[in-house]
Amino acid sequence: MAGLVSAPALATPPGGGDAARTASVTASLGVYPILGVIWLSLIIFVLYPLFELLKLVFWQDGVLTFKPLMDLLEVPYNVKALYNSLFLGAAVAVSGTFLGFCFAYFTVRMRAPFWLKWIIATLTLLPLISPPFTSAISLSMVLGPNGMILKMLGIPQINLYGFWLTWTAETLTYFPVAYLALSAVLVSLDPSMEDAALSLGSSPWRVFYTVTLPMTTPGLANSLLLLFANSLADFATPLVLAGTYFPVLPTQAYLQITGLYDYRGGAGLSFLLLVPALAAYLLQHYWVSRRSYVTITGKSGARSPVRGMGAIGEGFIFTLCLLLSAFVVLLYAIILQASLVKVFGVNHTFTLEHFEFVFRSGQKAIRDTLIIAAIVTPVGGLMAVIIGFITFRWKSVANMFLDFTCMLNYALPGTVVGIAYVLAFNEEPLQLTNGLTILVTAYIFRYFAAGIRSVVASLHQIDKNIEEASASLGASGTRTFFKITLPLVIPAVLAGMRYLFIHSMTAISATIFLVSVNWTLLTTRILEAMSGSELARASAFSVVLIVLVFISSGIMAYIVKTYSARLAGAGES
């Protein structure tokens, strides 16, 4: 589960749909053939690869066996990787949630000039749309051996590669996920409860930790789990920063396959990764996110102005947010600088040679990446609408299973999905490696889940009376769907498509296994440059990718915003 751009929309809203209003609509859309196609594609692109993976791990010489897994666990290095992955995940979850909470508290609950809040909120989103290497590259330039800051401090000898750098980079990359989830919770906490506590004689700080914090607890739990899963799945950061000092499962699985061609070992390590990732996801999805929603429903009457937590706490948060934002800016500035000078840290003469290289040698990667994103975005968006609509309208055990299957690739770490795809599509009858199809399907079935979530969330918000009104005015089920329902969920679909787009531009963990000479990606070019120690080229590639993503996702966000603004406020009482 990679960074969630639209985390608030991912919360599962309360209340069931209405079975009664559904039958005619679904039936008249001719849902069965569509459902057939969806299931077929899910079986091929979700269940079958996973099945192949499990088969390789647990099936040997025609018998069910745990031996390959046991063999893997005999190797101390693998056990260490498992332990490291879990430890790193927990550490990132705690630090990222803490930072996310501070940022959320600052933007939602504290008095500060609007522009400052805006700048800080925007900066926080930057890591979410950046390719996974960004913070890793710049951190290695800042804190790596001979890194800028270490030099400044006069301790250039110290080696931070391993846990410390990986942890720092992942915290910086993923705290925005916590920020999004927690600011949604804080926004909807009714300040009148805090007012009540204040008027009962509590100091602001006491109110904060006896009222505000406890009411945010489900949100915090949610954020911890999200970040744990994100860190567990992260492949790019440890690949660059952890090295052999701090082996983790995704990189071990990758090396097992690309280095040793040991598919069974790679599959086994993926399985070890799959178990905690799926557990964290299920816990988050089916338990915590439901609970957290309870705290944020309910209309409040007149809202009183928000209260802070007292001068000391607020001062601390304010300083922290400023410093961290400045650090994020520094990291991006360094990438930009590194891409524009001869050798960063050695020869700071301005040059465009790295960009020339990118546009010459990387032209194909740019084109391929854009083509893939351009296919993935609309197709995934369309599937998200259809599946979201079906699962929302038609509550049944079969559709709960459909929903679960759609979430599977999303919940699993990219490394697991990538290895499963390699195993499944390397040979006849479904020989897809080397092609475009395998990349496109990997992205669609991995990231359309976010689109489904946001479509379902927005369907929940459509007042059912609106569709009933349409029917009683004489519109058939089909007409109601196309004239009323669809236009009303379009903002959600666009948000889902934006998510698909960003991730099909920036993801690497699954597709690193699937690129070929025919089809390559910008992210894999960054990785190549990194492994060749060509930091400047890696930086130039990153800058190009960030700019591309920033512009296109900005355009999409703008469309969503203008379209939703027109719908705002109407249709309710």
Binding site: A20, R21, S24, D463, N465, I466, E468, A469, S470, A471, S472, L473, G474, A475, S476, G477, R479, K483, I484, P487, L488, R566, L567, A568, G569, A570, G571, E572, S573
Partner: protein, 367 residues
């Protein structure tokens, strides 16, 4: 074209897991062409459910619904030609007012110019000409409500259903809209079912009222009938205020019965249909405005004053009758007039009422 509505033995059962809710039980109702019938009853008594079954949003568990000669019980919603006005208006937020009102005509496939004319006419009718190009979120609540009405009326529905259409408006606007709705309904001669919580609204705008309780019909009648001759204690208490006194009656004859009411024996009017007409325990209903305290020893019953409230245009008393074990105090409301005699709390007084104002129900509270 307006048409008659006939609801026969209508039932609706909801099952929520193991819990079974009988939301509507065996409801029968005939609404004549052009008539406005209001559903009145406490929250959860099934008003909305009946309306939604007539509209086709819910499928009845039993019974039939006819409009004119046509059985519409299982007809799909969009083929019914029945207008529904929602409590929350349910305007389409992504469409302009024009598109909202034109929606049904377009679904019907009418020609462009007919649609234009229809929309203009409908908006004119609800007093909203000129807002065609705005969007719902640019209108006030009252205006949105009128658009919702226009959107339905433009289709000239056979039947108009309204579920608490005014409950989101402020008191003054509600008053205005209720005369407005009644005017339009009578002007078009539309058959109409109307749900409200507001008793005044129901009494002033209905031809007839159907009082419901726990899913079944308590009484159907004109507002005047319900007030003057409630057939059940529930109706007596629900429409206006009622003092209920336990009594024992002799064999009723010719609509009258000899009634023992505490120490008094009177000959009172009995309400037919309020239970089995037989000698035995019964109840006497007295409206607060029909009873008044008088000097001790006078009147029909001895009583004692508990409280007195001056409300301006009238004087309210809470009274009790010591040897009758009343479940709650009696309430008397005496219109103000110069020189009105006052009684202090604690005073022993007489309780007076006209015999024709007291009505006997063959029912006892709780039984």
């Amino acid at each position: 074209m307006p048409a008659e509505l006939r609801i026969e033995n209508l039932c609706k059962t909801f099952t929520k897991g193991r819990e079974v809710v009988n939301a509507v039980r065996d409801v029968n109702l005939t609404v004549a062409e052009g008539e406005l019938v209001t559903f009145l009853g406490p929250s959860g008594c099934g008003k909305t459910t009946i309306l939604r079954m007539v509209a086709g949003f819910e499928t009845p568990s039993g019974g039939t619904i006819h409009v004119g000669d046509e059985d519409i019980t299982t007809l799909p919603v969009h083929s019914r030609g029945i207008g529904f006005v929602f409590q929350n208006y349910a305007l389409f937020p992504h469409m302009s007012i024009f598109e909202n009102v034109a929606y049904g005509l377009k679904a019907r496939g009418e020609a462009e110019d007919a649609i234009g004319r229809g929309v203009a006419e409908a908006l004119e009718l609800v007093g909203l000409a000129g807002v065609e190009r705005r969007f719902p979120n640019q209108l006030s609540g009252g205006e949105q409500q009128r658009v919702a009405l226009a959107r339905v009326l433009v289709l000239r529905p056979k039947l108009l259903l309204m579920d608490e259409p005014l409950s989101n408006l402020d008191a003054k606007l509600r008053l205005h809209m209720r005369t407005e709705i009644r005017r339009i309904q009578q002007h078009l001669g539309i058959t109409c079912l109307y749900v409200t919580h507001d008793q005044k609204e129901a009494l002033t705008m209905s031809d007839r009222i159907m009082v419901l309780s726990k899913g079944h019909v308590e009484q159907i009648g004109t507002p005047f009938e319900l007030y003057a001759e409630p057939q059940t204690l529930f109706v007596a208490d629900f429409i206006g205020q009622a003092n209920v006194l336990p009594a024992t009656i002799g064999e009723p004859a010719g609509g009258m019965a000899v009634t023992r009411l505490g120490p008094a024996t009177l000959s009172l009017r009995c309400i037919a249909g309020s239970g089995t007409p037989a000698a035995g325990p019964a109840s006497v209903v007295l409206r607060p405005e029909n009873i008044r305290p008088v000097a001790a020893g006078e009147g029909k019953l001895p009583a004692r004053v508990l409280h007195r409230f001056f409300v301006g245009d009238h004087m309210d008393y809470e009274l009790t009758i010591d040897d009758m074990k009343l479940p709650k105090p009696l309430f008397a409301s005496v219109p103000y007039e110069p020189g009105l005699a006052l009684f202090e709390p604690g005073n022993t007084v007489g309780l007076d009422f006209a015999e024709k104002a007291a009505i006997v129900l063959f029912q006892t509270p709780g039984g």
